[in-house]
Structures are given as C-alpha cells and as structure tokens.
Assembly symmetry: C2
Homo-oligomer: 283 residues x 2
C-alpha cells in the first residue's frame, strides 16, 4: 500500500504515513472480516480469538472508585514487575474485571522488560510504554498514540508524583518536573529534589533506594490515572489531542528542549534537530 | 510478596526484585494452573484463552530462509506502521505462520505508538521495544529482558544498518554506530554520516527524507534478525546473557557513556549517575 505510493511518488511525509497507517488499519480489519467469512470459521471461540488481534477492544468508562483501584494496583504492582508492568497491569487489571476478554488473555508480563527506560538503559520511562499500550488496546492505534502523546506531555510538565497510595513503602517529601519523558533524567531530577544520593539521605539502600522505588511506583499510579482519565474522555467523545508530537514540529523524533541536555552544543544544527525554531512557542 | 519482603526488611536491591519477579512469575503461573483446575473450566477454548495470558508462548527455531522472510517483513512493514510495529510484526508474523496461536491473536497494532522513541519524542528506539516484546513472548519475561539487553548492546555498538532488502525505497551509502539506544541520537548520527540535512542531500523530502525512512526500515530488519538469532540460540540451550544491564552497573537506569551527551556536566555527580566508575571496563 505504502509501497505503491512510494514507487509512484518519492515525496512522502511522515504525516502522510501516519494518516495512511490509519487507513491501512481500517483496510486490514476489512480484509480480516472478509477472510473470516470466506473461510467459514469453525467455532465462535476461534472467531473471537481472531478478533483479539484487532484493536480497539471494548472499553467501559471507569468510575472514580475504579480509578482509585487502578492507581492502587499500579502502585503495588511496581514492586512485582516495575514501571511498564505497573501502569499497564493497573489499567488492564481493572478492564479484565470490568470488560473481561480480550483483556484477560493479554500477556502482561511480556512488557516487564521495558522498565527503567527499557532493560534499565534509562531511555523512555516505562510507565509511558505501559500507558501507550493500554490506550492503544482500548481506542486503536491512532487515538492510542494521541493519548500516549498527551500522557507524555503531562509526565514531562507536571510536578510529580502527586498520588498518595494506601500502602506506601516509604514517605516522600519531594515532587519534581522532569521536562522529559526520559527515565534517567526524570529519576535523577527527583532524587536531587528529594536530597537522595547513594548512601546518603536514603533509607536502607540495597542498590536503589526505597524512596526511589516508591517514587517510581507512584509515577506508575499517576500515569495510569491520567491514561484512564483520557480514555474516559474518549468514551464520552470529548478527547481532543491538545499537543502535537515533537516529530511533527521538529521533523525528527525528538524533544523540544534540546539545550536542556546538550547545552549550546546541540549536535545537529540546522532546521531540524535543534528544536530551537519552536522554543518559546510552547509544546 | 514483595510487600512482605519490604515490610520485614527495608534493604532490597533491584537485583532482588528482578530475581523475585522471576519467582513471582512462576508462582503466578502455578496459582493460575491450580485455579483453572479448581474452577473446572468449561471448554478447551476457554482454557487456551486463559493460557495466552501467560508467557512464554511456544517457539520453534526459524531457518535461515525464514529469518530472511522475517527481515523482509520487518523492512516492508516499517512503511505500514513504523519501527516498533516493523520489528515486532516481522517476528510475530513469521511465528503466526510457523507456530500459530497465541501469536495469531496478538494485537500487533497496539504497539505502533512506540515509534520514533515513543510517539515521536525521540527516546528509546522503537525497534528495541518490538524486539523486547517478541523475545518476552517467546521466552518469558526474564530471558526476554536479557535478550532485549543484548539486542540493545548490538544496536548501540554495531555499524548499522547492514541489511539490504529486496525492495529498498532508497539507496543508502552510510552506516553508523549510534553509541546509544536513543532514537534521536541514533537517527541524527546516521543522517550526519549519510550527509543528509533537511532540504539538502535528501531525495524527495516531505518532512522525513526517504533515506531516513529506508534507514529506519533496515534497522527494523537488523533488530528482528538479531532477536531471532538469539531466540534460536535460546531454543538450542545456547543463549547466555553476555552483558549486564546498565542499571546493575550504575545503580540508576542509564547508559554507560554519560559524557557522550552531557560532556563534562553530568548532572548527577557521585557514585551513581555518572557511569564514570565503569568507563574503561567495557559495557
């Protein structure tokens, strides 16, 4: 499909691709539906299984009490499988109960690896991977990505964590603004705000402090809550993408605040890669 | 489980947590098996559906011809759903054919959002998210994370892309070493090596150049190939985790080459956060 476009016309924008991907998804669903009919699938169970490969899955709005349970589950599950698993299992755990299948069949442990900015490499915060998966399952890939983008904006520009769990593992004093969705910067800025260094200011360090673990567990709860709030807005027909993905503004996947890490030495000067042409314009 | 550990003993390392998570997974599987028996599930189909929530799923070694098909699918699928979808659908698409369920029911489009370092924010390269999901489905979360870590190491320290697809969208001259799993740095370094700037040196720019898209499509193929090679090693009982996750070395999720981005101004001096104590020791 894109191949045809690409062969006929070498001009192709990422926006075209994204719009095209939406059309493709609709097209694929249509083909699958036709195939299912043509093949005369033997059983309803088999048909149901085929269907779980297609998103969106059913979603039901969660009440404030249910959102509280999502948050508690996310917080507590951090200590079972870290950040991605925490945020994802908080939301999907509640939807397993409220909606049932296909959420019950979804293999939550397959996403544990994305913790700590993916296998502990400090990249994109794992809570945001969990959030994006849950949002995509419930709304489809196009709205799911828009919700992921909004949650990333919230993550980056809000004093966090704000959630106070029922069963905290440590008392926390500080909140911080990460100015990034990147794990190691977000964690580092919060540790500085809390006054924690290795062997100093932290209770009972093995190797991560209990405070840092508790902070990341609360971040998981905060991101699960924000995701469900946006899913509820979407269910009401009220969700609007308020922010543009940085790739659209900067013409390269990126944040908008390059100098925040790179200082004056942004490695790719020029029209893209600097983010400078949109600084001051908000993001 | 961790709660009990945490309440009784405030010392808890991330290594303990990771080991504990493995035990937990085994425990959960055991409980699920007992529950399934006790509840006397009505149908085999229902039992099968329950089971798909648990990993690992069946894996069969792929032949060199099948790995070639994985790579072609990954490359071509980049133009349908970008990097995460490309790598993941390349592997899972082949396993749908070779193994069948539960791969056929897995909702591949739910991971499109993770492209471009997650919704285009330039964080962890989406190919690595796709790789980690596929590896976790096939081997479970513990080995899946080890494979993800090895693929990230390969991504970061290898001259790439090396894969030449059957249906390229553009001719590429350059390979580059990213020294990071982070999308915007990896893309930027390759663009510099290829001599591409916006409106200069690139064929038919809409907004991303065709060359950059082709490069990322080939990266998706390279990561899919590497993942399957490690899955095949695992199937043969030969997989060994050769590298330690940086979180283990640095006591914070991170890369090992902080000064590569931060220069001399690493924001979190001290025993963790700098990576300096292990520089020269390899990673």
């Amino acid at each position: 499909m894109f191949g045809e476009v690409m062969n006929g016309k070498k001009q192709l924008s990422r926006r075209d691709l994204i719009i095209g991907a939406g059309k493709l998804a609709a097209g694929t669903a249509g083909i699958a539906a036709i195939s299912a009919g043509a093949l005369g699938l033997a059983t309803k169970a088999e048909a149901a299984k085929k269907k779980s490969s297609e998103i969106p899955w059913p979603y039901k709005k969660l009440s404030s009490g249910e959102i509280k349970r999502v948050a508690e589950l996310a917080h507590d599950n951090w200590f079972k499988g870290f950040c991605t698993y925490a945020t994802l299992s908080g939301i999907v755990g509640m939807l397993r109960e409220k909606v049932g299948e296909p959420y019950k069949s979804f293999p939550l442990e397959a996403f544990i690896f994305a913790h700590g900015g993916t296998a502990g490499w400090g990249g994109t915060c794992g809570t945001l991977i969990g959030s994006g998966i849950a949002a995509s399952l419930a709304t489809g890939h196009k709205t799911g990505e828009q919700i992921a983008n909004e949650v990333m904006e919230y993550y980056s520009e809000t004093e966090l964590p704000t959630y106070i769990p029922d069963r905290p593992k440590a008392d926390l004093k500080a909140k911080s603004i990460s100015h990034t969705p990147v794990c190691h910067i977000s964690v580092g800025r919060w540790m500085k705000a809390e006054g924690i260094e290795e062997g100093k200011g932290a209770e009972g360090i093995g190797f991560l402090s209990v405070q840092q673990m508790e902070r990341c567990a609360r971040m998981s709860a905060n991101m699960a809550i924000r995701t469900v709030e946006l899913l509820n807005d979407w269910a009401d027909g009220k969700f609007r993408a308020a922010h543009t993905s940085p790739v659209m503004s900067n013409h390269i996947p990126s944040q908008n605040n390059c100098s925040d890490c790179h200082g004056q030495n942004v490695p790719t000067p020029g029209p893209f890669g600097t983010g400078l042409h949109i600084l001051g314009g908000g993001h």
